[in-house]
Subunit: 414 residues, 2 copies
DNA sequence: ATCCATTTGTGAAGCGACTGGACAAACTCG
DNA sequence: CGAGTTTGTCCAGTCGCTTCACAAATGGAT
């Protein structure tokens, strides 16, 4: 049960895992790894040798292209080309996207497919299983798991709690259904499910605009509604039941639009694409995002569009201020349409958040746009990679023993 | 720098510390310690032997008073009578309270003193230093630190960011000032400062109604304004700058009372004692709490009082629902006057929170009253004990060397 | 009372992760 | 070219934990 020589109270990463995580998140200089791990050079050496034996990492002793300091140059460490990958899947309102992501965040080709209609759980997850199976059949690298990003609150056990906009019933056990469908197609891989905004937050923290933040708040809006995520100490904060950061129902406009939750003026209905279009007096087409983006772009010249953008930006700012006052993040990353709003109304957004912040310190929180094209997909893959990043040895041992029962990965002593 | 044979990345408790924490929080059966630590009986044995040598713990092999199961009965483990204590100080609006708290949460006698007028930082902290020095001079047990609970947001370095109601300027370096004042009186102990509601949350988690919760949300109101705290995985979440859980400015009533933050209808001005009295059309006396408590008590028979209580309860519920939706706690503990409201209007409060909760799961969060008489005071002592609970060996080693003249206490941390 | 099943504490041996010291390797700078 | 600096590796420990074996302490069945 317990790994070995380690206390297993809170599942926390092995040193091997921490080292792999550092390489995964872009630290490629060996001496830097030594510093960040807080180990001696000797210990870092054995850790890297182990990771190399596991074919997760390789070190290049060759000289670095350009360096400043004196002394012997440090080796470069990079993800091994044979290292396993994870699959990320995102269920949107109209489509399903699939992407294979390796350690280091290197992504393959996105496959996208329209949602079947009606988009029942069975139909959607059947499609997901088909796409995944097809990808696995042709994959050259081992796949350690599947991550699934849903536009819904998701419980810790992989159950969709409120995929309202997909018209799913409450409590669809997505993880187990998908696992069964994959098993029926001959693939047995772990399936992890999460809220898309949560997962996007994780991805931005690992590989994007949130890198290095210790308390990262992420807020985004996609098709409809507003989602959020919080990354604390490098771990996604999902709350006790998995529905943390359901930020859509923060009141941001007294007497505003009615929300399906029963209140008026929730963030969900005041700062999403349809709210922006409505503010400009425009109809809401399908799909909605291009129209909303066009409106934001038009705001550079069109005063009416500008007014709508500013109105929505103000309400977004009110919601952000509430969250900043409560979470005290050291960085705020905006995704989806909110990143577009930030691009055209950064000053207004930051001023309004600062004005509504309780403390001077809160007013100085950096608010930046996300840097990733597909943060939800990447985050989904990221959670599938998580066990590997926590404890590479155990994951690979299990993985190998499925194929070669007698295989024994060599320990440190030769 | 690093302890020894352990990775020092995120400061996390030693196994010795984890064991001490368990005894500290009331686990007194040795076999239970073995289970909770996730260690073998052998390892638990050596850990306890070490703690015993440090005179932090003692084990009583004698038979337990009453047991059910078969087999050899397990030893009892309890805090050693010689174990060190910590001092907790709480600055209220009209008084300062001081309490010495030992491991296990055993508290001594509270000393209370009226605030000097004007209550400048120098005057207040001078009084604190006098009280602490007097207590240290007569103390029989070693004191590992002083915790200071303030009605203000507090930065990680022990600086009061917004002691508005004390009329303090922004940015009083409370920890360092108090440390210097104590040093001038011949006492060199670490001083840690925190927000009173934050610290109360920690105390309720360790020794009160929040015990065992993995994601504990605490909300309270004292003299004026509403405070909160969040305990995640047994650690106080203070945010990156220390002002997390400033919950007072969540909007709970569109068009409500004006708040000093500039908005209308903030939780701070809608769910504190003066809001309750105002709702009932009563004046706000000094001190305010007895009057507010009397009003809550009167609500059993007086319809007008009842109406005021229900109005404030509804607004509190609105704030709680917002917080529950974003934090997804597995328990909510109410302190101060909010606990009184819960006592007389539990059904109404819970129903309203459930109604405003986004998810069914959120609606089922247990909402309970705090159990501690002086949670802020206890929590202050708790953070002063924290280094001991994280790494008993190092703290006691430093403590021994404190008799050497060149010892320098750290200002603060966490 | 006696034996048995069960649970708990303890000693011996060993392993894995890490440290510290010593040394060789690789680079910059003068 | 050598001096100074930084880096990787070998060797001998240490520390925290495990496994195995056994003794101690109970309740229950006989």
């Amino acid at each position: 049960m317990s790994p070995r020589g380690q206390a297993p109270d809170t599942a926390r990463p092995t040193t091997l895992g921490r080292a792999l995580m550092l390489v995964h998140t872009g630290y490629g200089v060996r001496s830097e790894l030594t510093d960040r791990l807080g180990l001696t050079r000797t210990a870092t050496g054995t850790v890297l040798r182990d990771l190399e034996h596991l074919r997760l990492v390789r070190t290049i002793p060759g000289p670095r292209p350009e360096r400043g300091g004196t002394g012997r140059p440090s080796h470069r460490v990079e993800i091994h080309p044979d290292a396993p990958v994870a699959l990320g899947v995102q269920v949107h309102y109209e489509s399903v996207a699939l992407l294979d992501v390796g350690l280091g965040g290197v992504a393959g080709q996105i496959v996208e497919h329209r949602l079947p209609r009606p988009a029942t759980p069975e139909a959607v997850l059947g499609l997901v299983a088909d796409l995944v199976a097809a990808r696995l059949a042709t994959a050259s690298k081992r796949c350690v798991g599947l991550g699934l990003a849903l536009p819904s609150a998701v419980a810790g056990n992989g159950t969709a709690l409120a995929a309202l906009h997909l018209n799913w019933p409450v409590g669809v056990p997505v993880a187990s259904i998908t696992g069964d469908l994959l098993a029926a197609r001959g693939h047995r891989i772990p399936v992890l499910v999460g809220n898309d905004a949560n997962l996007a937050a994780l991805a931005e923290h690992r590989h994007g605009a949130g890198a290095g933040a210790s308390d990262l708040l992420y807020v985004t809006t996609g098709q409809c509604g507003v989602g959020g995520g919080l990354v604390l100490d490098g771990r996604l904060h999902t709350g006790s039941a998995g529905y943390a950061l359901e930020v859509g129902h923060i009141p941001v406009r007294p007497g505003g639009r009615p929300c399906h939750c029963g209140s008026l003026g929730c963030l969900d209905v005041e700062a999403d694409p349809s709210a922006l279009l409505a503010e400009a007096g425009l109809p809401t087409p399908e799909p909605i995002m291009p129209a909303a983006r066009a409106l934001v772009a038009a705001s550079a010249s069109d005063p009416a569009a500008r007014a709508a953008v500013l109105a929505v930006t103000r309400r977004l700012a009110a919601g952000l201020a509430s969250l900043v006052n409560v979470f005290n993040p050291d960085r705020v990353v905006l995704g989806g349409l909110h990143a577009d709003l930030l691009a055209v109304a950064a000053a207004e957004l930051r001023d309004e958040v600062a004005r509504r912040s309780y403390l001077d310190q809160a007013a100085r929180v950096p608010i930046v746009a996300g840097r990733l094209a597909q943060p939800g997909l990447l985050g989904a893959a990221e959670v599938a990679l998580q066990p590997l990043l926590d404890d590479p040895r155990t994951v690979l041992r299990q993985d190998r023993s499925a194929h070669h029962p007698e295989y024994r990965p060599q320990g440190t002593s030769s």
